[in-house]
């Protein structure tokens, strides 16, 4: 029985800038079904955090309920984690973020957790531009309860049971765009070349970064009639373009690949390079992103890649004008200014 991964790693694997090995970003061995797309997303998160050289202890992973929400156990085993209530990951993430703004917040959710029970929470955390990465591991079904169609299943798509889904799907990317998300992307668990730079850019982005990742459920929803299976995703995937993420520490060399269109500098100084973009596509145009998504959907294709980014909008802390230190770094007098301050506030309200 092997529920333990061997401890040896490839001897040529180098440590990152902080001296951490990639192994330091791994979690326990997955207990998901063999072949689950979610495991690939976990691997992409591990790779991204390792390459970004984020200290593992400065990451908080927060999730709700579902197969997707189990995955934080399988990555970043040395980070903080909170497996919360179904659909309530955004509330917990908001609270944590308000208390300690210095940490990296990775929220992991699924199509059930975000598009059904947690749709309200998803909407509000999006419009507040909370500084976090929100990943939806989207397989179009409720895998943990044996594969019923979820709210993101396309009309006509059929899971293992074989009955085509009659209801209109919720497109979470379109919703996120409409609700004011400042970073929106879509990807596929089977394409790490696209997914890893996307996650790295999303983590570096200051504000609400949303990535919808098509992540096939091998057990219940990888049929030929399903639009969320490996084969369908591969055959119908289109991309807005190719992107590269250049972290702030790395010097930008002028050696661009042919097809280079433009670059976007993020708040922390790191740069997103866009190549071979679809003609006329502008990742800074929210309306165009919504229209393009719609157009591809009508063609029966899945548009992936970076759909929209605005690195300059104020995040939740700036909108609120909160103190710029984590609460734990404040002294007792700042946290508890005394009865005179309370009276001053109260008198203001009279």
């Amino acid at each position: 029985m092997s529920y333990i991964r061997p401890n040896f790693r490839h001897p040529e694997l180098q440590a990152n800038e902080l001296g951490y090995a990639r192994k330091d970003y791994e979690g326990s061995l997955s207990t998901l079904c063999a072949g689950c797309g979610h495991d690939s997303i976990s691997a992409a998160i591990i790779q991204s955090c390792f390459e970004l050289a984020i200290p593992p202890h400065s990451v908080a992973k927060i999730s709700g309920i579902g197969c997707s929400s189990k995955t934080p156990t399988y990555f970043l085993g040395k980070s903080h984690g909170f497996n919360s209530v179904h659909g309530r990951m955004p509330s917990v993430a908001t609270g944590a973020n308000l208390a300690n703004r210095d940490m990296v917040y990775i929220g992991v959710s699924g199509d059930g957790d975000s598009a059904s029970i947690g749709l309200g929470q998803f909407a509000h955390v999006t419009r507040r531009n909370l500084n976090m990465l929100y990943i939806v591991e989207n397989n179009g079904c409720y895998g943990l309860t044996k594969g019923q169609d979820s709210a993101t299943a396309d009309v006509g798509s059929a899971s293992k049971k074989g009955v085509p889904n009659p209801y209109e799907p919720i497109d979470l990317c379109t919703m996120a765009l409409q609700l004011g998300a400042t970073f929106v992307g879509r990807s596929f668990s089977g394409d790490k070349n696209q997914l890893v730079p996307l996650i790295k850019a999303a983590i570096s982005h200051r504000g609400f970064a949303f990535i919808d990742v098509i992540s096939p459920c091998v057990t219940f929803n990888n049929t030929v009639q399903s639009t969320k299976g490996y084969e369908y995703a591969r055959e119908h995937m289109a991309a807005t373009g190719k992107m590269d993420f250049v972290p702030v520490r790395q010097e930008i060399t002028a050696d661009y690949e042919p097809g280079f269109t433009h670059e976007i500098t993020l708040h922390d100084g790191s740069v997103v390079h866009l190549y071979k973009q679809e003609p006329g596509f502008d990742a800074n145009d929210r309306n165009q992103a919504i229209r393009t998504l719609q157009a591809y959907k009508q063609k029966g294709e899945i548009l992936t890649g970076l759909l929209y980014i605005d690195p300059d909008l104020e995040d939740f802390h700036e909108i609120q004008g909160t103190v710029n230190k984590p609460l734990r770094d404040l002294g007792a007098t700042e946290l508890c200014p005394g009865s005179r301050s309370l009276e001053a506030i109260n008198s203001n309200l009279r």
Partner: protein
């Protein structure tokens, strides 16, 4: 690249690094698993079938398998393969083994073969041919069988009982041994109408320093290492002077110095021309010598034997340093310092050994090359006189026991084919099986969990006691509990990762789970480009990459065999069983099927 042909027996054979590196291709992981299961008899027989002398080799093998061991590529030290082999020999039930060894065949086949020398090569030929009914005559000048295993390897490394037992198994199968019989003419042997003659007479001549000043005058106290070891083994020599200089840096030098310590040498030194790191001796033999208070003085080239009043009093050496040219060739350059003098009572010269065939007439159809070596077919070991076959050190110069055994197996096949009137060049294919180990979703019929334990050390006998007794074995061998732990370090490289591209749905589960990042799904290319574009580039060119056929997306699966742990997680995480763990057993075909393991 074209898809890898895994049906070719050598592809997976190469993945089993230890077995591939072994000249006799002993199925190492197979017997290590048997040791872990406590099946020592079975482990012994797997060895015996392949390398003929498990007890002897478990103590004295040069272990080409260990530097090849995959474990040494993922951590510091390889599995202690050699010492595990000894565990099988130490813990077997002798009577049960005797029953499993083929007895004398009831029917003779009417063919007669003479074997010159009773060393490992001849004994292997005899063992492989005996069950087929050959009448085998073994000739040796020594009084007992074993050849250099008896005369050169000291008893504190190889107890006589172990040697006697394993030589005895072979002699018990029917060959007739004529000891104390030196063959001085191959022609007269051929005239006795043998159907074939096998020459396994070794490389019996130790190199000397004939032209070094003082060699003649000091002759009484200057000994050729291998001759001196033989003389000690047969108890003609029982003592040596207090101060001894051993010249040479090979394993014979190590055996000489350690033997000298036991025969009265209080101040024994090894002096070697090359730098310490370049010495030919196995690292563990150097360690053992140093442990017995024998300094190894490197970079010293003998200049003269110093004689005073007609008596050897010491040796003078020139100091050198090693310089390497761009091709890596070594040059010993004098440092220009004054020569150094070391006093001594005796000198043992262990600077190599050579072949010598004074007993083979040059006009009986056996062609010798300019170095005085017989011209042989590299595969069949047949000489230019078709009735004569060579093997062991006599074939291509001094090697080691396990190489001699490997030669013996091949020569036996050649002799059998020749005696049956077939062409010796028609070599039999190896025996190969490939069987799935899957028993359940998370269950394999091998222990796939990879152990973190570091290599275990073999306990040694107390130094004070062992220096007093030439016959007291120094290495004590693993106890059964330690042997189990050590056996668990084996990565089971013979349980192969077998990929079937028609089943793969390209979900990446194997890529994500693989602890050593061996697996990539990428666009196909030529090998050089492919190796560079893997998840972690495959820089170890001695290890193959396993390439699948085109998958649905047009990509291919490429697996770098280099540091695969054979943990089976790729197969466990595969939703469609495109990966399977299958045990690959490769057996070198012998002249006769010997035993059922």
């Amino acid at each position: 690249m074209k898809p890898t042909n895994i049906k070719h027996p050598e592809y997976f054979h190469k993945v089993v690094d230890c077995q591939y590196a072994c000249p006799a291709h002993t199925p190492v992981p197979e017997y290590i698993r048997l040791i872990a299961q406590g099946r020592y008899d079975d482990a012994y027989m797997v060895n015996w079938e392949s390398n003929v002398f498990p007890g002897i080799l478990g103590r004295t093998c040069d272990r080409p398998c260990e530097p090849a061991c995959r474990r040494g590529r993922v951590e510091e030290e390889p599995v202690a393969i050699c010492r595990l082999k000894r565990v099988a020999a130490d813990n077997k039930v002798k009577d049960d083994i005797a029953k499993r060894i083929p007895s004398k065949p009831a029917k003779k086949n009417g063919k007669r073969v003479a074997l010159v020398g009773a060393g490992p090569a001849s004994l292997t030929v005899a063992r492989d041919l005996a069950p087929l009914g050959y009448e085998l005559h073994i000739f040796d000048a020594q009084k007992a069988g074993g050849g250099f295993m008896r005369s050169q390897i000291p008893s504190f490394r190889l107890p006589e009982e172990v040697l006697d037992e394993e030589v005895g198994y072979i002699l018990g199968m029917g060959p007739v041994a004529r000891f104390d019989t030196y063959i001085d003419s191959l022609q007269s042997l051929l005239e006795q109408n043998y159907d074939a003659v096998f020459v396994g007479s070794g490389a019996p001549r130790g190199r000397d320093l004939k032209n070094l000043p003082g060699r003649q005058e000091g002759a009484e106290h200057i000994h050729i290492g291998i001759d001196w070891l033989g003389s000690v083994a047969f108890e003609h020599t029982k003592s040596i002077g207090k101060k001894v200089i051993v010249l040479g840096g090979g394993n014979t030098a190590m055996d000489c110095c350690r033997t000298a310590r036991r025969l009265g040498g209080d101040d024994v030194k090894v002096l070697v021309r090359s730098p310490f790191a370049d010495m030919k001796a196995s690292p563990w033999e150097k360690e053992d010598a140093i442990h017995e208070d024998i300094p190894i003085v490197d970079n010293h080239v003998p200049k003269e034997f110093v004689i005073e009043d007609g008596k050897l009093v010491g040796m003078r050496f020139d100091k050198v340093r090693a310089e390497y040219d761009s091709a890596g060739r070594r040059n010993l350059v004098p440092t220009g310092e004054d020569p150094v003098f070391f006093p001594c009572d005796d000198v043992l010269v262990a600077i190599g050994q050579e072949n010598s065939f004074p007993w083979i007439e040059r006009d009986i159809g056996i062609v010798f090359d300019k170095w005085g070596m017989p011209v042989l077919d590299k595969e069949t070991f047949q000489a230019t006189n078709p009735r004569v076959f060579f093997g062991g050190d006599a074939a291509f110069g001094p090697e080691n026991i396990i190489t001699a055994v490997a030669h013996g197996h091949q020569a036996a096949i050649s002799i059998d084919l020749f005696c049956r009137g077939e062409k010796p060049s028609r070599r039999p294919a190896p025996g190969v099986t490939l069987v799935s180990q899957k028993m359940g979703i998370h269950e394999w019929s091998y222990d796939n969990q990879v152990d973190d334990d570091l290599r275990y050390k073999v306990p040694h006998a107390d130094k004070k006691l062992s220096l007093l007794d030439r016959k007291l074995e120094v290495e004590l061998g693993f106890d059964v509990a330690t042997a189990f732990r050590e056996a668990e370090r084996c990565l089971n490289c013979d349980v192969q990762t077998v990929f079937s591209d028609s089943r793969c749905i390209e979900c990446d589960a194997c890529v994500d789970i693989c602890p050593t990042d061996c697996i990539s799904f990428i666009e196909n290319a030529e090998e050089e480009a492919l190796r560079k574009s893997l998840k972690i580039p495959a820089n170890n060119l001695t290890q193959d990459i396993y390439v699948s056929g085109a998958l649905k997306t047009g990509r291919v699966m490429v697996k770098d065999e280099d540091v695969c742990l054979h943990c089976g997680l790729c197969a466990e995480r595969c939703p469609t069983s495109a990966w399977d763990m299958q045990k690959f057993l490769y057996e070198v075909t012998k002249a006769a099927p010997l035993c059922n393991v």
